[in-house]
Assembly symmetry: D2
Homo-oligomer: 430 residues x 4
């Protein structure tokens, strides 16, 4: 036993994974599984996309450099150009690209540091059920106490507000404004507000456009920066490339990681409004800022999937299928559908039920995970590239597992007696 006690996924199954292709993942015995986990959002384009793979093999074969610190190097220049052309320009977004070290938490640390430097203030407002990473700066913004307690860490200069919809009937954007304008509210010295448009770990809670726009308006009126953590919800996961596009906002800083390399390789970006980008040279540093392999695959991802609206349109259609099925399951069993795009799930009430569903899915060849404060939300994150029939087949597996689990849990359908929900026929999506 060499592995640290800290491992978590490998406690849920003894399966040893080996290969992956598109929406499928294979164990060492060659058994195929539908992958509705997608590397926790790091494999939005599925496993081993052939074009990225070819480019990467070619790059490595040619003895091109694997890491380039933050020197200029070919592969990075090409990535930046592709990102500019395919992602930023079409959306009229103007950001500087910081390579903060190839993990999401690094991107968040860089984001809050530059926000604090730019504003000269130290407080960062985050939200209930938010997840932003496990290094101490990001951890202060992360809600889940499993990550926070025990470590006796000094977590500071952060204030927590209720996320959109967290408290029934409370307009938490108006509450923020009230706190900021009341000189004895106890909330002051605020540098930035950071949120996810869909809280991926926190239970697929969705920020409404109205709320997000209010947050941005309130912040900008008061010289406070808005940071959208798009590490899990971005890279096309909710339909558009950035999860905030549908909300009609333009954050000052955006964090990206997970699927930004497109291939599951460590990579991260902190996008910074040009006038906010007042870093001194080397003020935030790290050895692996320039992960060349990730630049190669990331460039292909930009060019292949985001040179036009195809990916977003397709994701919208697939999302509709997921929504319909989950609404049916929810109606059948009195559950609650959550999330947006291909980041949706079902609140099944308890972590026991959720884990039972997860286990049964795995038995039946489908990999997914649970999220939410108590792990009570069954979470579906199929690759954006999944074929429609595979998606529907997967939804069938999930439906069966829900039926079984809810039967066991003695859940009474609260509206109408239904048979196990059936996969819907697929026409327009392939």
């Amino acid at each position: 036993m060499l592995d640290s006690a800290v491992v978590s996924y490998s406690r849920s199954t003894k399966i040893v994974w080996q290969r992956g292709y598109g929406h499928q993942i294979f164990d060492v015995d060659g058994r195929a599984y539908l992958d509705f986990l997608s590397g926790c959002g790091a494999l939005n384009y599925g496993h081993n996309d052939p074009d990225m793979k070819a480019a990467l093999l070619d790059y490595i074969s040619g003895d091109n450099i694997a890491m380039g610190l933050d020197f200029f190097f070919d592969a990075k220049e090409a990535f930046m150009k592709a990102f500019q052309v395919s992602i930023l320009a079409p959306r009229n977004l103007d950001y500087r690209l910081q390579f903060p070290g190839p993990t999401g938490t690094n991107a968040v640390e860089a984001a809050i540091k530059i926000a604090r430097k730019f504003t000269g203030k130290s407080n960062v407002i985050s939200f209930t059920n938010g997840y932003h990473g496990c290094t101490l700066g990001a951890l202060a913004l992360t809600g889940n106490q499993n990550y926070r307690t025990g470590s006796h860490a000094l977590l500071g200069a952060s204030h927590r507000l209720p996320f959109d919809g967290y408290v029934q009937g409370l307009d938490s954007a108006a509450y923020l404004a009230r706190l900021l304008d009341d000189p004895s509210s106890g909330i002051d010295n605020v540098a930035a507000v950071v949120f996810e448009c869909v809280q991926g770990e926190g239970g697929l809670n969705v920020a409404s456009a109205c709320w997000a726009q209010e947050i941005v308006r309130i912040c900008h009126q008061r010289g406070i920066l808005v940071i959208v953590d798009d590490i899990q919800a971005g890279c096309g996961r909710t339909g558009s490339f950035f999860s905030f596009e549908e909300l009609g906002i333009a954050p000052d800083i955006v964090t990206l990681s997970k699927s930004i390399s497109g291939f599951g390789i460590p990579f991260a970006l902190t996008l910074i409004r040009p006038d906010v980008d007042i870093w001194n040279p080397g003020e935030h540093t790290g050895t692996f800022r320039g992960n060349a392999h990730a630049c190669v695959t990331g460039r292909v991802a930009c060019e292949k999937f985001w040179s036009d609206g195809t990916t977003a349109d397709r994701t919208a259609r697939l999302s509709g299928i997921v929504t319909d099925h989950l609404d049916d399951f929810a109606a059948s069993f009195g559950l609650h559908r959550k999330g947006r795009g291909l980041l949706q799930g079902l609140d099944v009430g308890t972590s026991e039920t959720a884990r039972a569903i997860q286990a049964q899915c795995l038995t039946n060849g489908l990999l997914l995970e649970c999220c939410g404060p108590q792990g009570e939300v069954v979470k579906l994150m199929p690759p954006l590239t999944i074929p429609g029939d595979a998606l529907i087949a997967g939804l069938g597996v999930i439906g069966d597992a829900i039926t079984a689990a809810c039967a066991r849990a003695n859940v009474r359908p609260h509206q109408r007696p239904v048979a196990a929900p059936q996969p819907k026929p697929l026409s327009s999506v392939q």
Copy 2:
């Protein structure tokens, strides 16, 4: 201009790098440079080692998974086994392996979190000129104020002590003991002491065996954990695999990154004494804990370079050559040699002189960097795999640059008038 203002290396040169092979790195125009930077220690085995490259190409070609979270997967199991067989077992070291996210700062954050959890205490003692990373937990332990100020970050629960030799005539280990035993010293609640055996960024300051042993003895008598940050000095850089081997100590926690993948791919490990490894599942997490590509190359690195004593022996011989040359340069120009193994350099007095030397080296086809509080130390980090003649050629380039710079800086040789130092003939090393 898309790059953030935070970039540093690319400010020192407009060269655009493209390929690398062994100890050489090539720009887009095909010009070759001797690489005495080695990806800042991430390329200890040179660029694109053919065996790692072959294994990686094979792995990718076979559609094996690129990332596996912390599930069990083939490539990770194989890496762990190789690390156990080649690295830990021969040294009689018993550690659990945590994959804390693929960057050094992540490894440090995990180390201090588990130390705080294990001891129930919060204070971490670090040293002058130490460098441990840029996320907030690690940043509290990092000395260089360029990384710390500006960000208005709350850096807490850390106390700074003078490193071995920092204050002339002060036994800083005895000082630590005094502080710990004096109930009104103001230093209490100490979870861990963290240090580098050679301070890579801080100026190549070397911890003596005597000092390190004293630190460990003092800590262990008082229930304090010892963390060695071996991110830059480890992976064979100073001769043995771990930099602490020559010091005759066994830390409770070790952080590794940079060259642990062997290929320049993001990867990191936190090694934890088994009884200290009291993590709850998932208590420290991150998407890229299981970087499969790094597992593949890291396994090859263990097997190829560390199955016997060849690498360490060869590094010792090369180090001797470096030491001899630097001693000559030092004697000629009244400078000061620093460091250990293939992590050595020259304190040339000012950052201006150091930068002039660096620039001239680059002009003459050799890449290196400076370090130290003021950037006053010219730092040599050739690949461990560099051929002897290339090493000597590189030392010649450096000698010329020193001669030129010190002449310009009007440095008077303080001992004897000498001609520019000459590369030494090489016999036993190849």
Copy 3:
């Protein structure tokens, strides 16, 4: 000019005060003013109460000790006994008495330290508009940013929640419960909740019995201590000795200062539930813990004013008079009455209006101050011992000032055209 720029009261008037007697304060020219400020709550029994004065003169004349550290001494023993007999025993309250240093902020610091020690947790929840003192521990709990910013202080381990009624329609007690029970709310490791039953500086916001009881119930179910800061609202200010009596709660820790000496002499107490009182000897210390003069007058205050229900009854009657008048003023000018007992006031909308009223009152011989986030609340704190006719006369002065100021401010009476509010006839109160 010797005085520091930090002074505030002396900026509002150049009057030099000299003597005081009961509800009157006299300047150096002998002009008498009605004192509706009462030393900001430190003179609840008026100036120079003759019985306390006699006892103090007697004590000093007899060369009794002025300060006794925390030794046993006569005057302290007598005070403790009187406090037990007159205050604690009749209310069935069981507390240990800590003398934490003779200021309110010291009492708060002691309270949060023992709460953190007892629970082993560090987070303290405080509320919007709360005021708890200006030393760093207390400051972290204080809302007003005038006290907090500028000092670059590290204010930590505190979370701020909306006070009862702060957000329209939000049940902030239920919100607290939700946060505590949601493991990813981001609020964890909570040692204590601290609040004032009437927020004296924050604008005379009143906690309802229902809210306070819910807070206590929620905390006690979860092992969290409840601290009531009764420094301003206690010592009879709201009617009963403790402001929390009417709310039907029994806090675990209570802080007292201001009028606890009865004579305006520095003094403070932290009352601690016996099983929570796990201090080590001397763990919280300070030179002036044993202020003997304050013990002498404080003893007389307990015996004279609290040996039966007279004071509380009389305060209730006087409070009714204040309420009636303020309700009239409020109705006449569309203002808002706030507070409870003899800690009431009028929200007049802006600090300009409030300051105009304050200035006119002073011109007309009545001293009072303003409070609230913007200083928009005219605050009435007459001595509890004020004669009824003097109270009514003072209310008349205030009414005139309101009329004048609201006329100037072009405030339109929103209900009915009324003449300047008239003092009410007094019958039952004398």
Copy 4:
């Protein structure tokens, strides 16, 4: 049992104190004790000085105000004038007077807040064995862990350096300079350095003039403020009014408390260099800033004891007597004399021995306390006003106790066999 478990002095004796006069303190049974504790430095002029007493009785009898917040009032104006005339002007010192709340810890909190505001920096450097108070801001600067641990307090933005002489052979002023000038020392963002010229609680460690001057020079060259905490060592305790006078330095900020009222009444001052006094009105506040009784007695103290050099001269002579005796005791028993002026003591090696000496002294009618990291220093703080023969008598009592305790502890005189040390004859002191 009403008293909190936090009490300390009353654990060392069950004596109930009652009266005091000059250098004598009396218990409830009328037994007189020599007071070599002087209210821990709050009674430098002895108990119940007749002139202060008369002035205070007169003030109270005349119904003058007891507390005046920070309004202008007679007694405060008179005190400020006397302080200016008797203390500041003769020493060519120019300070603004802040009344920060009537306790030492409050004065320290105000000092560090204004230093942080003025410099815009947050770090405060304090020293091993320093004691500055028990509220959280001051506590961060206090060395003794009995006050710090247990409370789970967040103590931040402070760095601890070795006090003058703490480490044999280390010039800790030079070390400070090195740390400040080394940009990767880890010590940065420094607002102020705070120290006591004689560490009263920390064991009577004395700062040398050379060291103190170096600290001031180093700080002033770098825009760092120097704060001298003169709460225990000031008010004439070491001879001159301020303990720093003999050291030839002029701090930027000085904290005073304890004996500043002269009568044992709570009072404190923060003296601030005029250009540093950039407080906003009310930015640091507190109810008891204007303790009128203390102003009355404090004025008398200034006028009576500091209108000329008599007190300082007399203290110098008495200090000589103490020094001579303690040197004898030290020589006889191989002990170590510490301290300066009438703040001297003997390091007797262990707290057991010290406590035995303290107990025997009490039995024989002399009250004193112990200090030092382990409580190993027997501390003599007689009133400055003690008659010479009483001082010598007290030294005799102490000598007897030392003899007895050292005999019991089997201490071998290391130089010469001597009889119990004898009080010296007194001639010039009366």
